[in-house]
Structure formats: structure tokens, C-alpha cells
Amino acid sequence: MIESSLKDIAAALRDKKVSAVELATESLSRIEAGNARINAFVTIDRDGALAAAKAADERLAAGSAGPLTGIPLAHKDVFCTEGVLTTCGSKMLSNFVSPYNAHVVSLLKAAGAVMVGKTNMDEFAMGSSNENSHFGPTRNPWNTDKVPGGSSGGSAAAVAARMVPIATGTDTGGSIRQPASLCGITGIKPTYGRVSRYGMIAYASSLDQGGAFGYSAEDCAVLLSSMAGHDPRDSTSLEQGAEDFGRDLAKPLAGLRIGLPKEFFAEGMSDDVRAAVDAAIAEYRKLGATTVEVSLPNARLAIPAYYVIAPAEASSNLSRFDGVRYGHRAADYGDLNDMYCKSRAEGFGGEVKRRILVGTYVLSHGYYDAYYIKAQKLRRLIANDFAAAFQQCDVIAGPVSPTVAFGIGEKSDDPVQMYLSDIYTIAVNLAGLPGLSHPAGFGVGGLPVGLQLIGNYFGEARLLNTAHQYQQHTDWHTRVPASL
């Protein structure tokens, strides 16, 4: 049942063909059987899941169920969950049990979704491969020698391995779209401010945005609709209330204008990815869409701008992890400064330390204008590029990642190569736009390739409609790894 669409699972629950407890049990069994191989989960909450499933069954019986009631779901371990370990993939928080729920967690709990566990991730969401986790790398279900992408790699792998039908993620520079692409599933990052960041452990506050993973755009629409909405506890939360992002799914694509940024297609994309992307675009034309070349001249500056802004914010956001109130504290230390140094040196991994150092540097007196202010200006230019492009088109399409999933260990010694794997996704975060990745075929080694769709502000419903129509006429999203 877990491989079915949310619509079918919900119908089966409603029709008493399956109970929420049975579904949770199925999900938990799959996780317990597959996690040793995939390492998608940091925490499996069997007791909590079964209790939540029981409550969901009561709700189903009472006839007060919603579209997510009784549906098993996994949360990226960046979301605080009351009473359940929240590690953020770090040794620093390896003992941290949150006393409160993130807004997203509360909303989905209230919707009756059954959380089965917390998924593995790059430490503090910093990474593109899930290799930066204190709890070991997550492996790609399509080939366990390959990375699942990151930083929400655990959630993407869990959905790809059909352990859960849906999962939450966060996307700061591509952390939902890239693992969705590498794992052959659908993932959406909404407009910045759609999903409350309250209780979502901050990496780079002005870029972080929660989003959804599922088998299909239709399923992502259901999950995202239950996650989004204004939250007064997050000052950057948009005023818009909750909305049904699936409202336009059935709209035909005739007349849709798809913009193709020439810079995305110029170079850098590997041949297999290019072939799949081109084929997907051809399919869209078949569905009635027209394509138009657009230009994002400053997109090439997205990576340098991102690697100033994100580390700057991160260096400050991660200052609270000082060993004083919670989290890891070194066993032996001399004075206060020694406690700080040892606790943080022991608690953080290499990539986190690298970004803290970079961020501290770019904010330092004498460097701030040259780096931080300049990067903010680039950010504005990049957003302007998109605004100009959207004068000519309704959605923008392109690759998600320049290559299919790379090998575990392949780029881990070369941070710049690793950073470049986010070249197509990062500009979207800098502009605060919504972006989606859907399966679009397979490349070298039979590994999935995703297509990225970028929407204008508040254009989630349109993105999901576009992807859904594609998925009505293709079956890439229904393919599962051979091992299943």
C-alpha cells in the first residue's frame, strides 16, 4: 500500500481496506528492513508512530479525517519534534530532545499524519550529498554506492525506497530539488515565507525554506498544502493563509510558456542529463506548451553570492551551540573559552566549521562591504534577472543537477566541486522563488535525472499543475529502484 498515491491510500483508509496502524506497521517494517542499507533514518519512532496511527484510526472512524490522516510521513531531522531526538545530523545535537514542536510538525500532527521517524541529513543542512552527517552517509536507493544528494538526502531516499510516501525537507540552496532529482522523486520548495521556519533549525535564515517530497506532484501538493500558511511566530512568514496548491492540477498546459535560460543550457550539463532534460521539454511541447529562450545573465554569480550570504548567516545562527544550555559539551576543559573551543571543535563536523569560518571572515570588520554587501547586491541582480524572465514566460525549466548521482566519497575532498553541483538550484533561493524537481528519465548507470521547474512568486499551484500534467503522460515518477 505504501507505494500507492496519497489519493489511493486515503481512499483505502476511508473504505477500511487498510488501517492507519497497518500502514504505519508496513512503513516501519520497510524502514527497519532497509535502513541498515540506506541509512535514511536517524531516529525511528515506532511507539510514537503506532500511537499516532491508533489516534488516526479513531479519527477515521469518527469521520473527521483529512487528506493526510493516517498517512505515514518522515520529517527531516532539522525540524524540532517534541519528545523525539532532533539532531540536525550533528554530534552537537546528538543528545538533543526538543521540548517543543516545529510549526510544520504541529500542523502535520494536527492533520493526522503519522510520523514514523526523523531522516538523515547533511549536518545543519550544509551539503549536497548527505555525506556530512554525523550519523554516516545516506545511500541512494538506486545504487547504494552513490549519494542521494543533500542536504535532505534522508527524506528523498526514504521516499525513493518507498519507506514512506511523503516526507518533509528544507531547501537553502537546492536541498530539496537536488536530492529529489538524484533519487527519482518529486520535491518542491515553495516561495520563501510560505512555510514557517519556527522550529526548523536555522542554517541560513534568509534562504531556508521548508518543502515537500512525494512520488508525484499531486502528492506533493497535498503535503505542501498542509504545511504552508502564515505563522505569527515567524516574522518572515508570508501573510497569505493556507491554500490548496492542488487546485489547478487538472488544468491543461495548452498556452503555457516555458522559459529556457540559455545560461543553463550553455555548458556544464553532462550529456545524459541534457538528453533527459531535452526529452522532457519536448514532452511539454507535445502537451501544448511553448518554449522561449530567456536569459539569467547573473545566474553564474549565484554560487559566489550564496557562499558569502549563507555562511555569514550560518556563522551567527550556529553561535547558540556553545555547550552552555544544551547539546554537546566537552568532557574536560579549563576556562570558559576552552569550553567553547573544545565543545564546538568536537561537536561540529568539517563542513560546518568551514562555513562558520568563511561566514565569520566575510562579516569581519574591513571585509563586510567587500563580501557581504556585495553579495547582497548580486542577490538583487539575480532576482531582477528572474523578474525580467518572467515577463516572457510562466515557468522556467532546466536541469536540477549537472550530473546524475555521484559516488560516495567522489567529491568529499573537494568542496568547490561539491558546491558547483548546486549551480542550477541556488539562484532560486537567492531570489526566494518556488522551485520543483520531477523525475524526467534516467542517465548514466540507470540513475534518475530530474527536471527543474521554477515559478514566479506564489506560483506553486502553477508549478504543481505543470508537473502533474507531465506525470499524467509519463511514467518516470512511478519507477522504483530494482532492489525493491
Binding site: 532532533t86 516574522s235 551567527s316 553561535s319 562579516l363
Partner: protein, 486 residues
């Protein structure tokens, strides 16, 4: 040996704790004195994932302050993070305002005592005032080699008010601090409780040879929590800097602490190991936008300000600048005075001022009572003033009546005058009778006066007043006595 004539330059940074119910970025209570960490919520202790939400009440108080000092209330200001590690700073940064503060410019006019019983006017310009959050407290006692952290104060809203380096003596600095202290209470944005740390002063002090245009190197004295300490610390610091320079030394920029026990200042850290706070706009908070409608509404709700009221007291009631300033030192004193004048009549405004600032203030001070707890009400005091004005009682008797009112011996001045028979005797016949008696009993003085001793006259007046138990009208006694002896 010629000594340089040194000029002192002082600027103050004053942290006022805003009197909101809840903290500046969380819903936790700001009440003072709770059990440690009982008033620190998830946001205050900086749990992973929590976010700040700005308290509008704190902004409104900043607007009120800006309007009260004639400053620009910025239509858009920005919260920034000031990054540094300290155990009582839970996030590892303080949310403050850096490049774009909410209040910009403004000035305060004050009366500075000149040390000779008078005062002179001084205008102090303000640089800015910005909103920020307070840190928690580190407790070093009772923990045997460890440090306790109390985060109740973490997130308490502060308005940091920064002056230009406009003050030229400790007396001016204290007068400025007092005026600001009075103002923030007047407009009800801060309780002004210095013992509880609601009003804390940092003083930037430097000296330069008089006539030199550029400033000397300054040292910043931190955390002065009484006006007396402010004065002592600045005076000590000035002398220390002058001595150092005259001995051939050079002042190094530094942060210093004042030791109240020794009365000395000592360096805490020098510029070399100063922090680089790595300020940047807080991405968790949107820029603070204040609409002109909001400003207009706050303006409409502002009470009449001390400067305006003081000017009115001088213009309408003919009070001196010093008296008017004294009576507008706090809203409570001003209100008491206004109530007294309202009941006694504007013609008696000057007498009312003398009584509020004199007898009443002295008595309250001795009894350590606030004017709002005065046993003598404004209406009662007005009744007393009226009886002085219409010659029912003399000033001397008035003090007796005041004492009786203080001791609740009667409900009004009239009732006490009546009950205790204190009414001034103005009946010429009655006074003449007293004079005759006195003259008969004091023949010696009479003879002395007649032989040219003017002093004897005063002695006879005194005897007459004594014989009348102080009730005889002194002017009439004088006049009639002169007539009888002449």
C-alpha cells in the same frame, strides 16, 4: 609652573529598560525578581529553531521618546545582530540596531546647577536611540568555582540613548542624566528604577587643552547605576586622565569599571582586545517600518512635556526658570503643583510653588515619602495658601497649620485654624490692647528706644507677637507700635 587649562568632554550612553509587560522578542514576562530562569521561554534561552517576533509596545515607547526629544522617528529602521560569545547571551548574538536606529537626533534642554545656588541652561544633542534586547545575568556567588546563568533578564527591551559629546563637566552629565531619567518616567516608557537596573549609564570621558578642536582619547566608564556614582566616577576619571597626561603619559582608549568602594575607575579591556561584533542585518526580522499614522497617533497621546510645561509655568505663573524646572522634575510633582494652583487660584501660583518646593518637599524628603503618598493633599495645601493670601494667617502660623495638616489634626486649613484659634488678629483695638500691655511690662525697652536704640523696637515687636501667640498681624503691630511710641 604653568598648568594647562583642561576642558572635559563627556558623552553618555544610557540604557533604559522599557516598561513593557513582555519581552522585546518573546512573550515571556519582564517582571523583576522572579526565581532564576522562571521567566525565560524557548526564545529567551535560544533553543534550536526558535525565532524572534518584535513587541510593538517596545516600538511604541521608542516612538514616544523620539517625539518627546524632537528627534526623527525613522520610517524604516533595521535590527542587526551583534555577535559575541558569552554564557548569559544565549543566541551568541544580541539583537540590536546598528546602522539604522529607530530614533535619530533630538535634543534636551536642562538646567545645570551652577554651584552657587543658581542654575544655567544647557542644550544637549542626542545622536540616536535604538531598540535592543538585554542579556541575562551571570551569577558568580554561591556556585563554588562555577558560574550560574539566570536568563530572566534576557530579552528585556532596552532603549539605548546615545548623546553627543556635549557635556563639559560631571555636573552637566548628572543634570543630563537626571533630565533624561525624569523624561522617560514622564512619558511612561521606563520605571526609572536604578537599583533594579532599569536605568544604567555608560560615560565616555576625555580631556583636551581648552581651545583644542579635536577630542582627546576617551575611556568609557561602564554601568553606573546611580547619579552619585556617575558624578564620582567622572570626577575621578577626569583627574586620572589629567594626571596621566601631565605626567607625560597618554590615554589609551579603554573600557573601565567604577569601583564604588574605592571610588576609583580601572580598565577592563583595552581597544586592542576589543570585539569585532560582526554586525549584520538580522535575517529573522523584517525592517521595522513605522507609518506616519502610527507616529501621529502616538503624538496625540503624549502628555504635555516637561519643557513645555516649564515654559508655561514661567510665562503664566511668573516662576523662575529654576523653580519651573524643579516643579517639572517629575510628572507627579508637576501634577501636584497644577492641582494646588487649580484649587488656590492662579494669582497664588507663586506662593503655591514656594510651598510645594519648600515645606512640602522638605517634609516628604524627611519622611522618605513620594509626593503621590503625601499626607497633605493638593487641595489642603491650596486651602492653606489661600489663608496666607487673605491674611487670615501669617507665614509663621501657616507652618503650624501645615504641621497640623500633616499630622491629620484636621481636614482643612480652615478647620485647623478654627479649632486651634490660629486666626490672625487684625482688629486694631485688640492689637492696641496687646501693645499697651507689652509697653507697660517693658518700660526699660521703651526707654532704650526713646534714647535712640533702634534695636529695642524689634524686641518690643517680638514681645507683642509673643503675647498674641503669633496671631497678631505683624505689619499692623509694627505700624501701631510706631504710632504709640512716636
Amino acid at each position: 609652573m604653568s598648568r594647562t587649562d583642561w576642558e572635559v568632554v563627556i558623552g553618555l550612553e544610557i540604557h533604559t529598560q522599557l516598561n513593557t509587560q513582555s519581552k522585546i522578542f518573546s512573550g515571556a514576562s519582564t517582571a523583576f525578581g522572579a526565581e532564576p530562569n522562571a521567566q525565560a521561554c524557548a526564545v529567551d534561552i535560544a533553543l534550536p529553531g526558535v525565532l524572534p517576533v518584535l513587541n510593538k509596545g517596545a516600538v511604541e515607547r521608542a516612538i514616544r521618546f523620539g517625539l518627546a526629544i524632537g528627534a526623527t522617528v525613522a520610517p524604516k529602521s533595521v535590527f542587526a545582530r551583534k555577535n559575541y560569545f558569552y554564557p548569559d547571551l544565549p543566541k551568541g548574538y544580541q539583537i540590536s540596531q546598528y546602522e539604522l536606529p529607530v530614533v535619530q537626533g533630538g535634543q534636551i534642554t536642562l538646567q545645570v546647577p551652577d554651584g552657587k545656588g543658581g542654575a544655567y541652561e544647557k542644550v544637549v544633542n542626542l545622536t540616536r536611540a535604538h531598540l535592543e534586547e538585554d542579556a541575562g545575568k551571570s551569577l558568580h556567588e554561591d556556585f563554588h568555582g562555577m558560574t550560574g546563568i539566570d536568563l530572566n533578564r534576557a530579552g528585556t527591551p532596552l532603549l539605548e540613548i546615545v548623546s553627543e559629546p556635549d557635556m563639559r563637566s560631571s555636573a552637566e552629565a548628572v543634570a543630563y542624566a537626571k533630565a533624561l531619567h525624569a523624561l522617560v518616567r514622564w512619558i511612561d516608557i521606563c520605571d526609572g528604577n536604578m537599583q533594579e537596573g532599569s536605568f544604567r549609564c555608560d560615560a565616555n570621558v576625555s580631556v583636551r587643552p581648552r581651545g583644542q578642536a579635536e577630542f582627546g582619547t576617551r575611556r568609557e566608564i561602564k554601568n553606573l547605576n546611580s547619579f552619585r556614582f556617575l558624578q564620582q566616577a567622572i570626577d575621578y576619571e577626569i583627574q586620572w586622565q589629567i594626571d596621566l597626561i601631565e605626567d607625560g603619559g597618554k590615554v589609551q582608549q579603554a573600557t573601565v569599571l567604577f569601583d564604588a568602594d574605592t571610588g576609583e575607575t580601572r580598565a577592563m579591556r583595552s581597544k586592542e582586545d576589543a570585539h569585532d561584533y560582526r554586525y549584520f542585518p538580522d535575517p529573522d526580522l523584517l525592517p521595522l517600518v513605522i507609518s506616519s499614522e502610527w507616529i501621529e497617533r502616538v503624538k496625540g497621546e503624549l502628555p504635555e512635556l516637561p519643557e513645555a510645561l516649564s515654559a508655561r509655568f514661567q510665562g503664566e505663573y511668573g516662576l523662575s526658570a529654576y523653580d519651573a524646572t524643579t516643579l517639572t522634575a517629575s510628572r507627579e510633582v508637576a501634577q501636584f503643583y497644577l492641582d494646588t494652583v487649580a484649587a488656590a487660584g492662579a494669582a497664588n501660583a507663586k506662593t503655591c510653588a514656594n510651598w510645594v518646593m519648600g515645606e512640602l518637599a522638605g517634609r516628604l524628603n524627611k519622611a522618605e515619602l513620594d509626593i503621590t503618598a503625601s499626607p497633605v493633599s493638593a487641595v489642603q495645601l491650596a486651602g492653606l495658601v489661600q489663608r496666607i493670601a487673605d491674611n487670615t494667617i501669617s507665614n509663621a502660623i501657616a507652618k503650624k497649620v501645615f504641621e497640623a495638616l500633616w499630622n491629620k489634626e484636621g481636614d482643612s486649613a480652615d478647620a485647623i485654624i478654627e479649632a486651634q484659634g490660629l486666626k490672625q488678629v487684625t482688629d486694631t483695638g485688640a492689637i492696641e490692647a496687646i501693645i499697651d500691655e507689652v509697653l507697660a511690662a517693658n518700660q526699660k525697652s521703651v526707654e532704650e528706644f526713646r534714647s535712640g536704640k533702634e534695636k529695642a523696637f524689634n524686641a518690643l515687636v517680638g514681645q507683642c507677637m509673643k503675647a498674641s501667640k503669633g496671631k497678631a498681624n505683624p505689619a499692623q503691630v509694627n505700624e501701631l507700635l510706631k504710632k504709640k511710641l512716636g
